[in-house]
């Protein structure tokens, strides 16, 4: 009987906690949309300077690592493709494979995962530290809305920076494939370039671009949500920062699955 009570109690608690978390996320999404879209339309200014500063941090400063990783993955992908296609004498089609996969899938995904580690964790740590040091309370006592001041500039910066990085990442990934296929395998450069141009359609760019915007929304909101969840001190900040990275990566891959399904059919 006590085991049954425990089981029902545990299930009930987990269910209630999950529903509470969903409700909190909904409130955060609503608040963010309100302060990012509705209030500016009513003439209440956005904190554009802060958004630009965050854009530089999330976008421009992430470019070296995103570029390097995308270049390397482009090279790796082309080598794997050559291994498979040379059996059919079709090494010139490596360009098609690398181009389409880079634009549709790997550039958005790798950019999102890198930004999760670099910027999503930073968002969670920053807001968590501000919560621990009562800076969030200070904002509220001053009559300033934390969503407007802390969340919206990061949100705008993230959803604008990540598509830009994704496009650059895709181009660099294609160049990585080009470098290996042309200089190592020996495919003609103009053949590679022509095949790439012919293979990639506008629809592929639309897929990669649109999913990257959603990845940005996930990274920012998860970081913010975990940051606001911080309790205690430095240990709490560490836990929630880790949690934000794990949750973001899971949700990014889940969102990717949904997008791939939608664009596949």
């Amino acid at each position: 009987m006590s085991a049954l009570t425990y089981m029902f109690g545990y299930t009930g608690r987990v269910t209630l906690n999950s529903l509470y978390a969903v409700a909190r996320v909904c409130v955060l999404v609503q608040d963010t949309a309100y302060w990012a879209v509705v209030q500016p339309l009513r003439g209440k200014g956005l904190r554009l300077r802060s958004a630009v500063e965050h854009f530089v941090e999330f976008g421009f400063n992430s470019l070296p690592i995103v570029g390097l990783i995308c270049f390397l993955i482009g090279g790796i992908m082309s080598m794997q493709a050559v291994y498979l296609l040379k059996a059919f004498g079709a090494t010139q089609y490596v360009a098609n494979l690398v181009g389409v996969i880079a634009v549709r899938e790997l550039a958005p995904l790798m950019t999102a995962i890198l930004l999760t580690g670099r910027s999503g964790s930073a968002i969670a740590a920053e807001i968590g530290t501000m919560k621990v040091s009562e800076e969030i309370d200070a904002l509220e006592v001053m009559g300033l809305n934390p969503t407007k001041h802390l969340v919206v500039p990061k949100f705008i910066a993230m959803v604008t920076a990540i598509p830009c990085l994704t496009i650059l990442g895709a181009l660099i990934m294609i160049f990585g494939g080009f470098a290996v296929t042309v200089w190592v395998v020996g495919v003609e450069p103009n053949v590679y370039i022509n095949n790439t141009i012919n293979a990639i359609k506008i629809r592929d760019f639309a897929t990669g671009f649109s999913k990257s915007v959603f990845f940005g929304i996930v990274i920012c909101l998860v970081g913010v949500y975990r940051g606001f969840q911080v309790e205690g001190g430095a240990e709490g900040v560490g836990k929630m920062t880790t949690s934000s990275v794990v949750t973001s990566i899971f949700l990014i891959i889940f969102v990717d699955l949904i997008f791939t399904y939608i664009f596949f059919f």
Partner: protein, 268 residues
């Protein structure tokens, strides 16, 4: 402090709970305009929770908090923002925004709540910093200041909007006696110069004796002393006497039983 100034804050039948645990139990008191009111008590007695309720950072389980006659417990969040513009708060750890300079910290509420020219805001920021003895520090970052200077900068920020009431959460915590005494003198100076109402949460007896007009003493979420400092000092309540005499717990082996015996709480 003259009573005829009338209350600026009234707390009626306030009950605050964390889950099933009652943290503040039926609290009643008022704060007169222009006085320095000290909320005193041991660690974990509910002082900071009471302060968070007074500034509207928490909503109580039941009861009323009236600021200038307006019940903030029944206000929407938007209505509370208007009330908060007349309040200032100095946090225990200063809570300065680390990414901003001291000047920007002080200027922030002015930039957000007023339509003043930037040059006017600069002048006002300098005046507030001069007031707390931090003239010339406007371009420093919080990390470049000592603990006492951070508390002063926090006070300058709290003063930015010329509030009617300032709340201090453990203002002298973590400071050496000389710096703490300087801060106590500053609290007094603010009160006498601007007729500011100050509500100070502390357990530092030396500070209490320097700044308090009236005192509210809490034990395990209940009021065990309320009145002028000399009345509280003369109280016969065993906890109040123990607190003022700075004696350790030696009356009982079990602190929980001891607190229950003092507050009259029964076992549930």
């Amino acid at each position: 402090m003259p009573e005829e100034n009338g209350p600026i804050i009234e707390v009626k039948d306030l009950v605050v709970k964390y889950g099933d645990r009652t943290v503040l139990d039926n609290i009643n008191f008022h704060v007169n305009r222009g006085e320095t009111f000290v909320i005193l008590g041991g660690s974990g007695c509910g002082k900071s929770t009471l302060l968070k309720n007074l500034v509207g950072l928490m909503r109580p389980h039941s009861g009323h908090i009236l600021i200038n006659g307006q019940d903030i417990t029944e206000m929407t969040d938007v209505e509370r923002v208007e009330v908060r513009k007349k309040l200032g708060m100095c946090f225990q750890a200063s809570a300065l925004f680390n990414s901003m300079s001291i000047g920007d910290n002080v200027a922030l509420p002015l930039r957000e709540h007023t339509k003043l020219e930037e040059s006017t805001i600069d002048i006002m920021t300098k005046i507030k910093l001069e007031l707390v003895g931090l003239g010339g520090f406007e371009n420093y970052l919080p990390a470049e200041l000592s603990g006492g200077m951070k508390k002063r900068a926090g006070l300058a920020r709290a003063m930015a909007m010329d509030p009617e009431v300032i709340f201090y959460d453990e203002p002298s915590a973590g400071l050496d006696p000389i710096v703490a005494a300087g801060l106590d003198a500053l609290i007094r100076k603010m009160q006498s110069t601007f007729n500011l109402t100050s509500i100070v949460v502390t357990h530092e007896m030396a500070s209490v004796k320097l700044i308090a007009d009236r005192v509210l003493m809490l034990l395990a979420g209940k009021v065990v002393g309320y009145g002028k400092l000399e009345e509280i000092e003369g109280s016969e309540h065993p906890f109040v006497k123990q607190f003022f005499d700075r004696r350790p717990d030696d009356e009982s082996d079990n602190r929980d039983d001891y607190i229950k015996s003092l507050t009259g709480q029964d076992d549930d």
